[in-house]
Structures are given as structure tokens and as C-alpha cells.
């Protein structure tokens, strides 16, 4: 009985699975094969790890990897910190006001591309803030405005991700806070905990799993994301996704396996992070932790 029902489910899902399998898994396998040296278009027919080995000595790759790690970590840390602060301070308002919770969700619905374009219009040296500063006489020419996009420190990239990801972490954390904090705080109050102690020993530990797991997801996303670093980042060093894209679209087809090797490295690191997230979630479920967020 169970056997037949499984076959039936598989048959019903088959059309969708074939399309997804063909396009996604097929594409992935093709890319993997090309990164392993099998690329008939340029006459390479033997499997080799040389494109991966080349990355070990590729200085651009090293700098990009470091930059990707650094920017992803900084943007995630700032988003997580702000998300926690917002969640804790907005908790009472958000649970009472539907308007406040809707307001928090607006940035979530906005595509990254839009955030990137908005930031360029705002903080680039030809942007609104620069013109305003010039009009107010704060700077002599709009060009005097400090470079906040395509800059050395990736300020624009960090700002874009912080704007986009902070509400995500806030909402994830808020969901846990609204559900659990009240009762545990009452217990803590009767046990002699003052306001600071309640924050330190009750609220933060309660939201930590939700904050950490959502921060891990945010990190994994930023690590592999393309639009924002492409729009707001420098050309050199660029984040890994931009390097992979640039090499892939190069007129020199021999760079394509290298590009795919970079992309595969990105995917592996992102997968590792998702795996860590799953492990964390599983540990929390095993402990029957009511604060777990999946």
C-alpha cells in the first residue's frame, strides 16, 4: 500500500523534478565537469584538478576570498547586532502594533537590486547626499564627498546588506521573543533578577539560537551573493561572485573553467555553512529547545 502510494507521489512530481533536475542538477554537473578540465570548446578533454590547483597560487582569488569573508562577516555581525537590539527594544511595540510589524517587513520584500540602486542614488559621490552636502556648503564640490560606493573598505556593500538583512534577523529573533520571553522574565523577576540581569541571563540566551541560526543563513547568503557587490563594489579586489562572473564572461574561453572553479569553491563554502546551520538546528531540536528557529 505504502509502496504504491510512493510510486504515485513520484509520478505526480516527475514533471517538476525532471525540469528542476535537468536545469539545476544538470547545469551543476556540467559546470563541475568543466571546472575539472573537460571543456571541449577549447579542446580540453582530460579531467584535471589544475584549475583548482591554480586557485592556490592565484593572488586575485586570495584577495577576493579574504574580502568576501571580511565583508560577509562584518555585514553579518552588524546585522545580527542591530537585529538583536531592534528585536529586544521593539518587542513590546511589535507584539501590540500590527503597523510596526508590517513596517519591519517592508525591507524584506524589497529586492537586493533595488537596495543597491537606492544606495547608489543616495551615497555615491554623484548621489543625493553629496549634492545636499555641496548645496549646504559642507563640501566644495560633489567630488569631495568621501567614496562610499566602489570604495576600498566595501562600505556600500556592507551598508546594503545591513539594510536588507537587519530586518530579517530582527523578525526571526522577534518571533522567539514574543513567544517565550514574558513567562521566563516573570520567573527571573521572582528569582531576584534586575532589568540588566534579565537581559543578560534570560533574553539573550533565549534569542541566541534564533539569532545565530539566522545570522549563519545571512552569512551564507552574502558570501555567495552577486548583485550588491557587482553594483556597489570595486573592480579589484572584487568579491568572489563578481570574480567568477567576470572570468566566466571573459572573451578568453580558457578562463571559463577557472571561473567555474571559483564558483564551485563559493558553493562549497556556502554549503558548509548551511550544513553547520542544520547541525545547530538539529542539536537545538534534540534539546527540545522552544526557542529553535528553522
Amino acid at each position: 500500500m505504502i509502496h504504491y502510494s510512493r510510486i504515485r507521489v513520484a509520478l505526480l512530481l516527475a514533471p517538476a523534478l525532471i525540469v528542476i533536475g535537468g536545469l539545476f542538477i544538470g547545469g551543476l554537473l556540467l559546470a563541475l565537469v568543466q571546472s575539472l578540465g573537460y571543456f571541449a570548446a577549447i579542446g580540453e578533454n582530460a579531467f584535471t584538478l589544475k584549475h583548482y590547483a591554480a586557485l592556490i597560487f592565484d593572488k586575485e582569488f586570495h584577495r577576493s576570498l579574504f574580502l568576501t569573508f571580511a565583508l560577509s562577516s562584518i555585514a553579518t555581525a552588524i546585522s545580527a547586532a542591530l537585529g538583536l537590539i531592534f528585536a529586544v527594544s521593539l518587542r513590546d511595540v511589535a507584539s501590540r502594533s500590527r503597523f510596526a510589524s508590517v513596517l519591519l517587513q517592508i525591507p524584506l520584500a524589497m529586492p537586493h537590486l533595488v537596495i543597491g540602486v537606492v544606495l547608489i542614488n543616495l551615497i555615491a559621490s554623484s548621489g543625493l547626499v553629496a549634492r545636499l552636502a555641496f548645496a549646504l556648503g559642507i563640501i566644495n564640490t560633489p567630488a569631495d564627498f568621501p567614496a562610499l560606493t566602489a570604495d576600498t573598505y566595501g562600505f556600500g556593500i556592507i551598508a546594503a546588506y545591513v539594510i536588507k538583512e537587519t530586518p530579517f534577523i530582527t523578525l526571526m529573533t522577534l518571533a522567539v521573543l514574543v513567544r517565550t520571553r514574558d513567562e521566563y522574565e516573570l520567573v527571573a523577576r521572582t528569582l531576584g533578577a534586575n532589568r540588566w540581569q534579565r537581559l543578560r541571563y534570560v533574553t539573550l540566551p533565549l534569542v541566541a539560537p534564533a539569532a545565530v541560526s539566522s545570522a549563519l543563513l545571512v552569512f551564507a547568503f552574502i558570501f555567495g551573493a552577486f548583485e550588491i557587490p557587482f553594483l556597489l563594489g570595486r573592480t579589484y579586489p572584487a568579491m568572489l561572485s563578481v570574480v567568477a562572473q567576470r572570468r566566466f564572461l571573459s572573451t578568453d574561453l580558457s578562463e571559463r573553467p577557472d571561473a567555474i572553479a571559483v564558483a564551485v569553491c563559493l558553493a562549497l563554502i556556502s554549503s558548509l555553512l548551511v550544513y553547520l546551520y542544520m547541525r545547530l538546528a538539529r542539536v537545538l531540536i534534540r534539546h527540545d529547545n522552544p526557542t529553535v528557529f528553522l
Partner: protein, 371 residues
Amino acid sequence: MTALTLRLQNIAAAYGAQLVLEDVTLDVRAGELVALLGRSGCGKTTLLKIVAGLLPPTRGEVFFGQENFTHVPAARRGVGVVFQKPLLFPYLNVFDNIAFGLKMRGIAKSETRMRVAEALHAVQLEGYESRRAAELSGGQEQRIALARALVTRPRVLLLDEPFSALDASLRIEMRSLVSRLQRELHITTLFVTHDQHEAATLAARIAFLDDGRLLQTGAPRDLYLTPATPAVAHFFGWLVIEGKLCATQSVTDNGIRCDTALGRLTGTPRSPLANHKDESVWLAIHPAQVRIVTAPERSLTDDATENLLPATIEAVVDFGARVTYTVRLRSNDLLTIDLSRDAHHEARTTFDMDENICVSLPREAVLIFHK
């Protein structure tokens, strides 16, 4: 900490415009356990939260001993609370959960270790220090919650229906544990419950709260046998019906006759009644004092036959040592009569389903209240 008297004076509380407590005055003597009994939503937990400092009263004062604690924050009241749910911090193990209150008070680690060990011994869970809440049963969790409340040596212990989520056998076990610890530690305790049996088992004194008002305080037996109001009587299982003092009233042997939907009944006034004919009153019938007699034994038309009501056996539950009969009265009211096997022997009879019988109510089993 030395046991203190807990005194609540004219406490009132409201949620917005809705009054939930009205002029509640209650003393819990030093080292005494008082059960605060009442239906769900009657204001029990609100009163407990006021004592704990988790909710400010709109009026009235809370005294611990001679000291007024009305405006002292919860964190500085030195009150131990066990809630309906154990609410153990899920990210801490048993040791850290129990030690939480001590840590908040800055107690030294060596003393903390000693006091946590004592608390675990008191609740008979030695060796559970490193377990997490998820690894404990419901009863164990509630014991740890009790240990966590006791380890701080509170001035007053407040228990808010702590056993309601446990199964029957665990409840009995926990009651006995709480009772033993309360006596050993001589701690002033307020125990909130909606279960009259639990209240009577644990407390020498019950305070009955109904609709935000404290209706009666006394020994369980007093509340059960001489309820102060129809609401108390109803809660303790009395059948409460409306009636009117008889037009042809004559007071004999403290008995007062009333006309009711069940017929004419003679009862005992709970407090002195002005003898106005046709005055509406409440009558409360105590099932425990009701006797079942077979219908043909007496003539129902005989005026001399007092408080004999025709009824039908609706259900019989035979527990062996006792039998519970549910009888339907002429008014369609149901009365549950619990008879011990001895009572059967006395009556030398048993009764069957659907059998027409009569219930006999002694005057003492019918209390009459002002309306």
C-alpha cells in the same frame, strides 16, 4: 529566613475597566499554608501576582510581617514562586536553573553549590545536576522548579496551580512533597488551586475566591459543611436552587419551609432570616447528607412527610467500597449521591438504573440563604 505573616489588606485590581479583585483581605500566618481556591478566572492568579510584585494592585496593601511591600519590586521581595508550568530555563542545566536566583543575588559559588545540593536533596533529585529540562519528566521538572524557588529561602512561597499539568499519581506525590517541605521549612505559603480536593489535602485553611471577592475563609470542613454563600455551596457540590419562603410559614425547630421547583422543602437558615412570606431565597442541598429510599415506602401525598423528593436513578457507578448514584429530580436537576458500602448495608438495598426512588433530605442538608 524567619517565617513571616503575609497580610493582604483591601486589595483591588483591574485590567483596564474590568475589575478582577475587589476588596480582598487575607492573613496567612507565619509558617502556615493557605489554599486560595476558586474557579478559573476568579482572580486567584492576579492576587498571587500582586503578592509576588509582578502586578501592582489598584488599591490595597501587601504586608510581609510588619513591613509594607506594596511598592517593593518583585526582584527585591524575596518571594519564591512556582508557576503552573515549570518554566525551567531551557538553555541551562538543572544545577544552573536552581542556582539562578542565588547567582542573581551574588551568592558565593561554594555556598551556591551547597545550597543547590540541599535543594536537590529536598526534592529527592540528587544526581540530576547536569540534566537539561528536556531530559526530565513533567513531575521532575516541577520538582526542580520547586527547588529553584526554595533555594533562595524566600519570605513567602507562592504556588500557582503547580500540579495541574501532572497526571493523578504524580499530583498525589507532589502534594505530599510540598506538604512535607512546607512543614519542615515552616514557610508561609499561599497555594493557588481550582481543585477543592487538592486544597483540602494540603491546607488547614482555605480562602475561597469567587468573581474577585473573597467569600469565605476557614477550615476545609467549614467550607464544605457550612458554606457562607450559595456560590461557595455550589462550588463544593451542593445543589443550589431558587425558592420562596412559604406563605403559610411557621418556624419550628429552626426549620423554614420554602416552595421550590422540587416541591415544598424545609431547611435551615444559614443566617437569621426575616420571615417575609414570598421572599425569594436560595436553597442549597448537600448531596452527602441525602439518603435514597425506595418510593413505595412512604406516601408522597402525605404532608407530614418532610423533604422527600421523587426521583429516578439516572446512572450508577459502582466503585466497590462505595457507589455513586446520579439521580434526576422532578425539576430535571441532577444530584450525585455518593454512598459508602456501609450505608448500603444500613439501607439493606441497592438501586438500579431507571428505578423510581425518593431522596430524603434532612433539614441540615438544606441551607437557606438570602437572595
